[in-house]
């Protein structure tokens, strides 16, 4: 495994660019909302998911990718066979 500082410096510009894309997208949504185009209920839900995702990025730990994946996933219910009568 490479040293953490090396990974960070090698990835810095790429991550910076991705964060700017996220920021610009959120700005675009905000501008459109300010112009009177409110989010639909489904879009509000998606926006809330993105806010939760951004908070996960600020947490500590080496499992952020897995946590984001689960955030964006439908829940598993162990009784699915009974529900489907299968």
């Amino acid at each position: 495994m490479r040293p953490a500082s090396q990974i960070l410096s090698e990835s810095f510009l790429e991550v910076r660019a991705k964060l700017l894309e996220v920021a610009a997208t959120l700005d675009r949504i905000e501008r459109s909302g300010s112009a009177g185009d409110a989010l639909s209920a489904d879009a509000e839900e998606q926006r809330a998911q993105l806010d939760t995702a951004i908070r996960i990025l600020l947490d500590n730990g080496a499992d952020r990718a897995e946590r984001l994946q689960k955030l964006f996933s439908r829940e598993y219910e162990s009784n699915w066979r009974q529900e489907m009568d299968l």
Binding site: A65, E66, Q69, F72, S73, R74, Y76, E77, D85, L86
Partner: protein, 272 residues
């Protein structure tokens, strides 16, 4: 580095792609049966497709020194038509003795519906009856976690299924551990947007090691990159990982997994 792409849909690719793959080190590939982008309307449509997979594609690949293997099924996207699915499942044995057929696949779930689960279970019966290996498709995006767990439930509930003869494809960060923990092989699909990037695949290799882990491009008719496996090789090398670890994932593991099929007659390139 020689490599094997264990999941790629070459019927959707041009001959130029075969030439490029050969130049990038691809020496063999396996092509699971897939959705055509539209629902086929009859069992004869599938018969023609299976003819293409077992006769035409091996010849196209051979022109570029690539050995071509395949898997047969009706895809989960078409499983809502249960009666057609049953006709196709009944017809598949006509092709199981073709020399490049490795097993049944890619079977699985798409939207995690009852009909999909029914057809999946009937494919499992077919594989068990004919002692075939199994290649699994797991759903996309929000459906992946739930669908992967459902698939693992069905596989693990059947004591006749040997996990070491099953490859569960399209794993990502939230599904890979459980697939490996339950004894299955796991395939990472390198897709531009909807699945896994070469960087994230390299992260998973570093985290889990190379045991029972494979990488594929799943190149098809949609947004996909048939040369994605060399991208992963490059990323592993860029990070300074051992060549032996990379080689295990992109070459040794596919050979170890496929070798459990009686039809896997792979000839290694002479590198003397």
């Amino acid at each position: 580095m020689d490599y094997i792409d264990p999941h790629i849909h070459m019927v959707s690719r041009t001959t130029d792609d075969y030439a490029t793959l050969a130049r990038m080190g691809c020496v063999a590939m396996s092509e699971p049966a897939f959705w055509a982008g539209f629902d086929r309307r009859s069992v004869d449509g599938f018969r023609d497709y299976f003819h293409q997979l077992t006769e035409i594609e091996p010849n196209r690949a051979a022109q570029y020194g690539i050995q071509h293997f395949t898997w047969l099924c009706i895809n989960a996207k078409e499983a809502e038509n249960v009666s057609l699915s049953r006709e196709v499942i009944a017809m598949i044995p006509e092709f199981l003795d073709c020399p490049n057929v490795l097993g049944i696949g890619e079977i699985g779930l798409n939207k995690n519906t009852r009909n999909e689960a029914t057809v999946f279970l009937e494919h499992l019966e077919l594989a068990i009856k004919h002692d075939q290996q199994i290649l699994i498709h797991t759903p996309h995006l929000a459906d992946k976690y739930q669908g992967t767990r459902m698939i693992l439930d069905m596989l693990c509930d059947d004591s006749r299924i040997d996990p070491s003869r099953v490859l569960v494809d399209h794993v990502e960060e939230h599904t890979v551990a459980e697939v490996l923990d339950r004894g299955f092989w796991a395939g990472m699909t390198l897709y531009p947007v909807t699945k896994c990037t070469p960087d994230r695949a390299a992260d998973m290799i570093e985290k889990f090691g190379g045991e029972r882990l494979l990488a594929n491009s799943a190149g098809d008719w949609g947004p996909s990159k048939p040369t994605a496996v060399p991208d992963l090789i490059f990323e592993m090398r860029r990070r300074g990982n051992d060549e032996s670890l990379t080689r295990k994932v992109v070459y040794d593991n596919p050979i170890a997994f496929f070798s459990q099929s009686k039809n896997f007659s792979f000839k290694e390139r002479d590198v003397k």
